[in-house]
């Protein structure tokens, strides 16, 4: 039993970080009033760039490059929807499509392979030797630094929204950009900062996949995790803590399914595999249906802002 929970905890801590980073990033972006359905593409950019960079520099620096790549894609998103005031959903989906094709393109151009990049040095894991074996407590160790960062990121984001000047302004601009503009704060710049940060976080989320989960970029990455992150963000009511919580829940549900399959095969056999796989999603829907989920979205979400338009 203890072993079961031990692996459940360990497995969740392994699976959650990509989702957590991306979902927290998305929550910041949307708090500022900019829809971000381009998370999938930004994660892909981050995963690719991190793996490519880590070939020529230490892997942790590669992760930074991954963040920058995510942020660059976000910058395009910002340019499109803040400066050019295009539809934010359009922009995000467009970037996803471009990155989906561009990722495989670059893979072939740079690595002459259509399946994956050259292996890199994987991020090292924090191991305390003997403690690793201690039930439950040990499950907290032997993860890469990014896992611990993923625990920190939502707390940090929450704190920043609450206690910094930037956070106050971001909260305001997502609700009522006119109010922010009227006191002389440049709405575009403010939103841009949130969009960039969101891209960087999504980039880190992607980088987790290619530097910690695996030791190279695999051409399917992130295989839908970006959309899951958006769902987590909505589930978490557009707040960093909520988004991180929902992301963790998704990872936990998955780990639970896997854990049951090996620990209680007879139990798992009762339900066909495909149905088990559908369960976390169906359960999420059920939870939402039962508790209801009204509101929570920033009021000005998705509206581009133009000083002179009313």
């Amino acid at each position: 039993m203890l072993e079961f929970f031990h692996t459940l905890l360990f497995s969740t801590l392994e699976a959650a970080p990509p989702l957590v980073f991306a979902a927290v990033g998305a929550s910041l972006c949307e708090r500022a009033g900019v829809v971000n359905v381009g998370v999938e593409g930004m994660m892909r950019a981050g995963a690719f760039a991190a793996a490519a960079a880590a070939l020529v520099m230490p892997t942790p620096l590669g992760v930074v490059v991954g963040a920058l790549a995510g942020a660059s894609l976000a910058a395009v998103h910002g340019l499109l929807c803040i400066r050019l005031r295009s539809d934010q959903v359009v922009s995000g989906m467009a970037l996803n499509l471009v990155m989906l094709a561009l990722g495989t393109f670059l893979l072939e151009a740079v690595f002459h392979s259509s399946s994956g990049s050259t292996p890199i040095t994987q991020l090292s894991r924090l191991s305390l030797g003997s403690i690793d074996a201690v039930p439950l407590l040990g499950a907290l160790f032997n993860h890469s630094a990014l896992t611990y960062l993923a625990v920190l990121a939502p707390l940090l984001a929450h704190w920043a929204l609450k206690h910094t000047r930037w956070g106050l302004r971001v909260r305001a601009v997502g609700e009522q950009p006119q109010a922010v503009a009227a006191v002389g704060i440049p709405v575009g710049t403010l939103r841009f900062s949130a969009v960039l940060l969101s891209g960087a976080l999504a980039g880190v989320g992607g980088a987790v996949l290619s530097t910690a989960t695996l030791d190279h970029f695999e051409h399917h990455m992130p295989s839908g995790l970006g959309f899951m992150a958006v769902a987590a963000m909505v589930f978490g009511r557009w707040t960093p803590l909520g988004a991180a919580g929902a992301a963790t829940f998704f990872a936990l549900a998955d780990s639970l399914r896997i854990g049951l399959a090996s620990s209680a095969p007879s139990l798992a056999q009762l339900v066909p595999g495909g149905v088990q796989l559908a369960l976390p999603y169906a359960l999420t829907l059920l939870v939402l249906a039962v508790q209801g989920q009204r509101g929570g979205a920033p009021a000005a979400l998705g509206q581009s802002f133009d000083l002179e338009r009313r």
Partner: protein, 361 residues
């Protein structure tokens, strides 16, 4: 007239520019004449090869058209699905799941119902539309009754549909019955009477599904622009409060629109099954539902715009296969589609440029 031209100009220019960019990239890496050759063969694969008429006869055209139309049909129907939902202000990310459900129902109905030919196909199409619509209505119901944001519910429903259909039913209970240890790819083959007839016989896959897609686009166009209900959908999408105050039954409108959206995607699945695959294949694997989002956006949510984008990109993709023979990456058409979408996203910039040009003229 001028206004209409101005309205579609950003999309058209964006696609043209994306094609041009694609050409330049190929020309830079492979040389101009190779690039020209590659593009020529892509267009040949999309629209027909006059140079091979001697050898292939009329099929030098019919076969490429068949392939272009096959893809255009799916893109049109999923594009309409997304566009219709956009009308009432919903973002239907769930076209993929609705398509999967529709495809499965069409496959089962096509294989296991005993009906006269012709009617059989119609019934299978109808059931698939109903199934897709019902699946989408779940999201709408969750939205109006429980306030669940449709982005999350449609994403979730996509996964549920995919897992249940491709992870359980198709390889499990609905799997084709086969001798020995062979694996068949998917469900039982549909009966001949349920197949959508090919318009030009065996050698071109151009089938009645394309006519269906065009018909659905026209019907939706008329409905959205000329009917009172269509007007109500628009109002509900733009300002739900005002719609409510104006006596528009908001919840019903949202559910109806979403059901129609799901029906379109369900039809796409049915056309895939009844038109070309003749069974639910082991996996659908192509993200038709997501491509539908691109079509809806490139077509600016206008049914004819969706149709036009779908025909163009369907053709590019069909022809794009030949780019592989010239050593160009298999995802090239998708890349062009993505770049075009980015450029459409930048339509404000286009519009400013255009407005300036028009003013000068």
């Amino acid at each position: 007239m001028k206004n209409r031209l101005l309205a579609i100009a950003p999309s058209v220019l964006a696609v043209a520019l994306a094609m041009l960019l694609g050409f330049v990239v190929v020309a830079l890496t492979k040389g101009v004449s190779e690039a020209a050759g590659a593009f020529a063969s892509m267009f040949a694969g999309a629209f027909g090869e006059p140079s091979r008429v001697d050898e292939l006869g009329v099929f030098a055209f019919l076969r490429p058209w068949g392939e272009s139309a096959t893809k255009a049909t799916l893109l049109t129907l999923t594009g309409l699905s997304v566009a219709v939902a956009f009308r009432v202000g919903l973002f239907n990310i769930g076209a993929q799941g609705q398509l999967v459900v529709g495809a499965l129902v069409a496959a089962l109905a096509g294989a296991h119902l005993a009906l006269p030919a012709g009617l059989h196909a119609v019934v299978a199409l109808g059931l698939a539309a109903v199934a897709g619509g019902a699946w989408a209505s779940l999201a709408a119901w969750l939205k109006v009754r429980r306030g669940v944001h449709e982005v999350i519910s449609t994403i979730m429903l996509n996964w549920v549909a995919l897992r249940l259909v491709e992870g359980w039913l198709v390889p499990g209970p609905a799997r084709a019955q086969v001798e020995g240890n062979n694996s068949i790819n998917g469900t039982d083959q549909v009966l001949p009477g349920a197949e959508l007839p090919n318009l030009f016989g065996e050698s071109s896959r151009l089938n009645a599904g394309f006519l269906l897609a065009v018909g659905v686009a026209l019907a939706l166009l008329f409905f959205l622009q000329r009917s009172v209900r269509g007007f109500e959908w628009k109002v509900a999408g733009l300002n739900p409060h005002a719609a409510k105050a104006a006596g528009v039954p908001l919840e019903r409108t949202v559910v109806q629109a979403m059901a129609v959206a799901g029906a379109c995607a369900g039809l796409a699945g049915a056309v895939l099954v009844l038109g070309t695959e003749h069974r639910y294949p082991g996996t659908i694997s192509a993200p038709w539902g997501f491509d539908g989002i691109a079509m809806a956006l490139l077509g600016q949510g206008h049914p004819l715009g969706v149709l036009a984008s779908a025909v163009w990109f369907g053709a590019l993709r069909a022809g794009g296969t030949r780019l592989q023979l010239a050593g160009i990456h298999k995802s090239f058409p998708e890349l062009i589609q993505g770049v075009a979408l980015v450029l459409v996203a930048a339509r404000a910039a286009w519009e400013r440029l255009l407005a300036r040009a028009v003013r000068r003229a």
